[in-house]
């Protein structure tokens, strides 16, 4: 059986799944709109969590929170299920497909066979849609892929029951109840306010303060950790900025696209100019990644250059601080 589901490629998996599921249910919502209303933009430095033997950085909010906030703010109800038993998880999935209901799944990336090898890490917060089953194979719409693909039953079970941090435990979700008409205005304002609050949070590892903190750490890394580890950490910082499809701007371009769309919906000219500003900030992130890559490219043992990129990061932090203070007042 195959559900008449349209696959649209997106820059990021969670926005893409939400946007595609909304479109399937007859609501035209773009990826940036989901990202903005769901307050996806963030910066967070988690030195106490090690991913691939380096501290964790994130440029977006917790996995799952974008959909959660988006749904709440536009008045969509989502049903979520987690399972301890893989057989039960499969049965519930099959039941939904029988009912022509495509579902979103949280999966681990490591066993996604269609991903290139260097993306296959033990990262458990990827999202995709299952929209049918044919000859025992599940039809998969992975939003970051250009086209749809398939996974066998055992392959899907493996990724649904990946272990480690943020283990998906078969997590399955789909919207069940919709408002008659989608009221975006209030949701947009809430989304923007929330993002401003997060980015300006008085917490040393979050938002603008978090960026400044990392900049300080970067200056220390070569001495404290040795150049090899410092390079590894820097690579991690850029890899997280880049996940898949953020175009180098660490999600800043998607947010800028959202602001542009929001300025039309809210008839707010200021948001359009702020979108341009965010694009410029995204470009700064891109330049930062480019310069950082020059340092770790040669895997050299020299420790110069670290101070320069730390300064760059501080400039970004200051720009974002001014930006989000202004944005808070703009809505």
């Amino acid at each position: 059986m195959e559900i008449n589901f349209t696959h649209n490629q997106s820059a990021h998996c969670e926005n893409g799944v939400v946007s595609n599921l909304m479109k399937f249910n007859g609501f035209e919502v773009s990826e940036p709109m989901v990202f903005g209303i769901g307050s996806g933009l963030l910066f967070c430095y988690l030195p106490f969590i090690k991913v691939n033997h380096a501290p964790a950085f994130t440029y977006r909010s917790m996995p799952g929170s974008i959909f959660k906030r988006f749904a709440k703010r536009v008045g969509v109800k989502i049903k979520r299920e987690k399972f301890s038993n893989p057989k039960q998880a499969k049965a519930r999935l099959d039941e939904n497909l029988e009912k022509n209901n495509p579902v979103g799944l949280q999966v681990g990336v490591y066993n996604l066979t269609y991903f290139p090898d260097e993306y296959r890490f033990h990262f458990n917060a990827h999202n995709l849609v299952v929209y049918g089953k044919e000859n025992g194979n599940y039809l998969i719409s992975d939003p970051v892929m250009e086209t749809v693909t398939t996974l066998t039953e055992s392959e899907l079970e493996k990724v649904r029951f990946a272990k480690g941090a943020l283990a998906p435990k078969g997590h399955m979700y789909y919207p069940v109840d919709f408002p008659k008409e989608l009221q975006l205005e209030k949701a947009i304002v809430k989304g923007i306010k929330n993002t401003c609050k997060d980015m300006l949070a008085p917490v040393p590892i979050v938002g603008v303060k978090g960026i400044k903190f990392v900049a300080k750490q970067i200056r220390k890394w070569p001495k404290k950790k040795g150049v090899k580890v410092a390079n590894h950490y820097l690579g991690q910082l850029v890899r997280m900025q880049e996940e898949i499809g953020t175009g180098g701007g660490g999600f800043r371009y998607i947010f800028a696209a959202f602001l542009q769309e929001a300025s039309v919906v809210l008839k707010n000219e200021q948001l359009a100019s702020m979108s341009k500003e965010m694009t410029d900030i995204g470009d700064l992130w891109r330049d930062f990644a480019l310069d950082a890559s020059r340092i770790y490219k040669k895997r050299s043992k020299k420790s110069d250059g670290y101070n320069d990129i730390a300064t760059q990061l501080e400039t970004i932090a200051n720009r974002e601080e001014v930006f989000f203070k202004k944005l808070k007042k703009a809505v």
Binding site: D117, Y119, H122, V144, E146, G248, A256, K276, A289
Partner: protein
């Protein structure tokens, strides 16, 4: 980022047959999407991460050959895992898994425990006992 600036560098994405989607502005300043074949700074970061893993695997292999650790550590690195991840896959406490890295203890492990590790690494028990088995 302008649409024309969306990077089209060589990367392993291309060899896997897919491009990623990026948001960028067109000539009129309107946001639109453009496909990208990859971006060098990211490719380098990914390549370095892979090299680091390969280095870790090589070190673990050497340690197994010198009888300083058990094959479990080698297969753990091979599967890009670390101790917490491996422990949660096999369902054994981290401190016990760590003890199983001890070559002496490893030889005394029961078939049941060995099978657990073999299942996680998707190999058979002979391969688990000898990292060069079948290669």
């Amino acid at each position: 980022m302008k649409k024309s600036d969306v990077p089209q560098d060589k990367s392993n994405l291309k060899s896997s047959g897919f491009k990623e989607l990026c948001y960028a502005v067109d000539e009129k300043g309107e946001y639109t999407t453009e496909k990208s074949t990859g971006w060098e700074p990211k490719t380098i970061a990914l390549d370095n991460a892979m090299e680091d893993i390969n280095e870790r695997i090589a070190i673990a292999k050497g340690k197994v050959e010198r009888n300083e650790t058990s094959p479990i550590e080698y297969y753990m690195e091979l599967a890009k895992m670390d101790l917490p991840i491996l422990a949660s896959y096999v369902g054994i406490w981290q401190w016990r898994v760590k003890r199983h890295f001890n070559p002496k203890r490893f030889t005394k492990l029961s078939n049941k425990v060995l099978q657990k590790y073999a299942d996680v690494f998707e190999i058979n028990k002979e391969q688990l006992k000898d990292i060069n088995h079948g290669n």
